[in-house]
Symmetry: C2
Subunit: 208 residues, 2 copies
């Protein structure tokens, strides 16, 4: 059986959980507490030298890290990854957009506010750093709003791993302080994604 090393609050892990659930693939969920350094042990670094969840471990023990790579691996040969060469590259374009321009701002702002803000809030450096992430997060939401004005989904005209990748942190953007009121096309798309068959919540931990 597949094993997913994960942290339940993580949107990056949630992407993998959501796809595994929608593919109907059984898997064992092993939770690691990233706040306690459980992904920086020598044992974990043998799975992922970058010391981060999620990591997917195959039955034969081979390990794969990076949510975008895990999504592509799992989706291959399924309707979640377009067959057409250009459409597949478009899906990848949006998954890379998420990791470079969206997650480092929207997910990081959420992480800071959730876990470390009490100790940082009086430091002008962190206040300015958060302001910067908020500004860039809104830029990413504007890019999504622009694309979704005229498109129902991000690639190939249908639900794919590009939507899963972008849904994970967008649907909890409010926890990072982002108000989605100014992005109606994004909100309508969030509803379309949540309506897909087999959808699960980010908090779901039982996949047995």
């Amino acid at each position: 059986m597949l094993t997913l090393y994960d942290y339940l609050e993580s949107g990056n892990g949630y992407k993998c959980r959501l796809l595994l659930a929608q593919l109907g693939l059984p898997f064992r969920l092993v939770l690691k507490d990233i706040l306690k350094g459980e992904t920086r042990t020598e044992e974990f670094l043998r799975l992922n030298p970058n010391g981060r969840i999620p990591v997917l471990v195959l039955e034969d023990g081979r390990a794969l890290a990076e949510s975008g790579a895990i999504l592509c691996y799992l989706a291959e040969g399924t309707p979640f990854l377009p067959e057409d060469r250009f459409a597949r590259a478009q899906a990848l374009q949006w998954i890379f957009f998420e990791q470079y321009s969206h997650e480092p701002n929207i997910a990081v702002a959420r992480f800071w506010r959730h876990f470390v803000w009490a100790e940082r809030k009086d430091d002008p450096y962190w206040q300015r750093a958060l302001d910067e992430r908020m500004q860039r997060g809104h830029q990413a939401l504007e890019v999504m709003q622009r694309h979704l004005t005229g498109h129902d989904f991000f690639a190939a005209g249908r639900y794919s791993i590009a939507d899963i990748a972008l849904y994970a942190y967008t649907h909890v953007a409010d926890e990072g302080g982002f108000d989605l009121a100014a992005y109606p096309a994004v909100r309508a798309w969030l509803d379309r994604v949540a309506d897909q068959p087999g959808h699960v919540l980010i908090t779901q931990a039982d996949f047995s």
Copy 2:
């Protein structure tokens, strides 16, 4: 003919130029000055709503953004993208690692020092922000050093787009203030990449 919208100093653009050259694919290079906002015009945003180079435009006018997606698109069906499903996912793992954990630190430190440091160097906020990027950049180099101790390349045991993705900013890391002396396996790998047939320099602008 393919068209690549690019900026010559960009390692992200260089990844595409290097692969195109090694594939022997002719292309038209259209340089955009990112410092003058030339990628934020309405015309450019129609190619990439995220307003960034590189963008690859196919003969039929369809546009693809994000260096990682362009690499995968161009490499498909060639020896630069492994055929085996798991090996292909491993290549993707390292391309995502580069975009999330490497480029935002090593490339951004280089960009700041090259282009904006004169106006930022007396601001304690930017000094601390640079220190943080430097620290994370060294963490990324340590991850590479760890992997390359025992592996000649990043995926599938041979030169692939994973190596191209990581080479682009690692080989100019010194311009960001990173000393590679502590990473001998990384330096040996840089030499192996530079020795590949058809290698071109980041400064090469003439591909006719």
